[in-house]
Symmetry: C2
Subunit: 459 residues, 2 copies
């Protein structure tokens, strides 16, 4: 590099920092106003974006500008160009997949985290971020009623948390087989493919729970992944029996409670989580049902030394004098660079408090119970799986094609957005309730749209 | 679940959305004020946090509050409890590892991304986020002078980008060996361990470049990882010769330019990137040297179908009618859930413009040249590797222990924060320049601290 000089830089300009390209106070206020007004009006927008593939791209220029533009231009184009291409996860009638909510304390904490730009590659590079992460994981473990002493840290998504647990299991057991039910999340298969592990899928019973009698020989199993709250129907695998089988075989038990785990904040729901206390590792995503903006996936383990042994790899340039005493969380997962995700979870836990989090979960359950009752009482409609947590699986009379068409029509109406699953070889609609702003009227409006479109289809 | 009813929820409360737990306008303004004032005063704080392991944790309560607290309490504790535990990556005298900057447009975009909470698991769940990601990757490819037509997407960190590239290479070649130099980033070894791939480390020459004559037989190699800008000394592997060897052997060439790649925005520096245009995949991290808040790692490939074949796994519940026409970026990497990272890169590219980005890079280079000259002219000090980009490796006379002590003293002073490497078996200090706010006076102050502490040590 020193063979050729860089282009001349004005010496004077090196003596002053360059001016900011956006003003945090004035541009920031405009951004806040946009954000606040977005959340006020989001319920009036079509839930599912009404654009064709390529349409947003076609509205954007082919290259970056030569000269810097004001931040106001970014805000304007966000509104005019991008917004029509946004599917509104913050919409009160977003009922697809699992309904999530980014609450205000978490949103503001992301602003602060980006401002600090702490990167927790090592303890010393971010002591506050590292230790707060430990603290909020301990807080959350208590809120969920988990055993004392589990070690927790934050990953970006359940995909990463689960692959990390599977890797620890592989390294700890020296075995290469992962076992899960045919209802387990696709991330288990993706993780097995990455890790070069063999995957065995165990059949589920008619209520979509892993059949323990089908587990088979576990003597070569590194891990069994049990799910509490499957993606299809939120079914609950029989964790106590799976834990028994894992113990007998020396296999690692990983519990995927990415969606449903947040419900453990309510003691009256913990019976559904029996056996989770015996897991070797557990993933729960507060960015799903606990009011935290994406991304925030919590991975706990009772075997932190096994997780660390799997991932620790400290090269010379990262060795520090304090490394002996201090915990560097990058030793517990795939990534080295880690952003300050704990801040938003801390803000959410503090501003909502235990009571606020419980109210949020109970509200979702009550709305789901209400909707379930309406479906049960309606001629020509049926519930297609036991309702678990805040997910209701339903379909109208007629075959799969009719229900597929029904889903397409409701989603195209913009009034509500639902997704689907195939359960026991039948196409069913999934009504996933959980957005913080959803009211009974929103659920009613989705139900009205379903019945209206259903009636039109039934002719 | 329906066996036991949830705790009673007041029916009336289901008819209204619950109130927000923080007000985006008023609490948001306080958060902005905190952020703006933090960036104004960060240069007056000690760069490296002055806390002992466990100290921050000890100041925090053992559990989450029962009742929600005002957001102001979070801001207060951020200031009073957490701030002393923050190592300030936004400090103008942060010279450790690679110096990064979160610029204001990127910070505000993170607020907006958290507000929208778009989750790009599929095209239809986030058309704007998905298509903007493609657009800003194309914009950046043009800015860096990359060949037309490469496919790009965003991962959280270079660790993930590199493991994704290695996985694609393994699947595409059916081979299991990864080759890199002994100067390559630790993420290559971590990724190989995850993927169950064999790793061969090739010796570097005295200038820390991979020795092509030591590459050995590549007939079993899935991939060679070449580095442009190594972590230790920012050395540049001979990419054209490595590309020749890869082509001859049918191996995938992955180029890790996580830090230095941003410098390609300046055409006069592109000679240092010769051969990169022949890579099968390339990682560049705008969260390092391109003014974007953590996390934003760009992975391009000329072989998108191989990347997709490695990672695509679309279960029934994610199948959509538009899937045939539309790109879902979760099929190109390990995670399913993907947050709206493109928004901050878009804001940075637009508000800085090509010219602003070039000025930022040139400024860092000019400061590094200045510092390099001071060291070269100072008796008792030496430069320990050719300077590449904005990283200067140096040491004072005396042995490793003296330099280790020198580093500890300067870092303890709080005036500057540097890190180290072991190059050619000698301990050297790394002065990594790149923070947007760094001025010549900041570099001078670090140099004064180095010489002062060095003189004290030399007695």
């Amino acid at each position: 590099m020193n063979e050729r000089p860089a282009r001349e830089v004005d010496a004077e300009s090196l003596r002053e920092p360059p001016g900011p390209r956006a003003d945090l106070r004035s541009d920031g206020r405009a951004a806040l106003e946009w954000a606040a007004s977005y959340l006020e009006r989001v319920g009036d927008l079509p839930v599912l974006a009404r654009v064709a593939p390529g349409e947003i791209r076609a509205r954007l220029p082919a290259e970056a500008p030569e000269e810097g533009e004001p931040f106001a231009a970014v805000l304007r184009d966000l509104d005019e160009i991008l917004l029509p291409g946004v599917t509104h996860w913050q919409h009160p009638r977003f009922f697809a997949y699992f309904s999530v909510s980014a609450s205000e304390p978490g949103i503001l904490a992301e602003l602060l985290a980006a401002t600090l730009n702490s990167i927790a590659i090592l303890w010393r590079t971010a002591p506050a971020a590292t230790e707060l992460e430990g603290v909020v994981l301990d807080w959350t473990a208590k809120l969920l009623g988990l055993p004392d002493g589990w070690h927790g840290h934050i990953e970006d998504s359940a995909s990463t948390s689960t692959v990390a647990a599977m890797m620890a299991a592989r390294e700890a057991t020296g075995r290469n087989l992962v076992v899960c039910s045919d209802q387990a999340h696709s991330s288990v298969a993706k993780g097995a493919r990455m890790l070069g592990m063999e995957l065995r899928r165990v059949a589920a019973d008619p209520e979509l729970r892993m059949r323990v009698d089908e587990l088979g020989d576990l003597s070569g199993a590194a891990a069994v992944v049990a799910t509490v709250g499957t993606t299809g129907s939120a079914s609950v695998d029989p964790v106590p029996a799976i834990a028994d089988a894992c113990r007998a075989a020396g296999a690692w038990l990983h519990v995927d409670a990415a969606y449903a785990g947040s419900a453990m904040v309510c003691p009256e729901l913990r019976w559904a989580f029996a056996g989770v206390e015996r897991a070797d590792s557990l993933v729960v995503n507060p960015h799903k049902w606990l009011l935290t903006p994406m991304d925030c996936s919590l991975l706990w383990t009772r075997r932190p030394e096994d997780l660390r042994a799997a991932f620790s790899l400290v090269p010379e340039y990262l060795r520090t004098p304090d490394a002996e005493d201090a915990l560097s969380l990058s030793e517990y997962g795939p990534a080295l660079g880690r952003r300050f995700r704990a801040l938003k979870l801390w803000a959410v836990l503090r501003c909502h408090g235990r009571r606020g989090l419980q109210e949020h979960i109970r509200r979702g359950l009550a709305l789901a119970e209400t909707f379930e009752r309406w479906v049960a009482e309606e001629p020509g409609w049926e519930l297609c799986a036991p309702r678990h947590f805040s997910l209701v699986c339903l379909r109208m009379e007629g075959g799969d094609d009719r229900n597929r068409e029904l889903l397409a029509r409701v989603n195209a109406s913009g009034e509500a957005f639902l997704s689907h699953a195939v359960l026991n070889e039948r196409f069913v609609l999934r009504m996933a309730i959980g957005q913080a702003s959803t009211t009974e009227q929103d659920v009613r409006r989705a139900w009205d749209a379903l019945r209206r479109e259903g009636a039109a289809l039934a002719g």
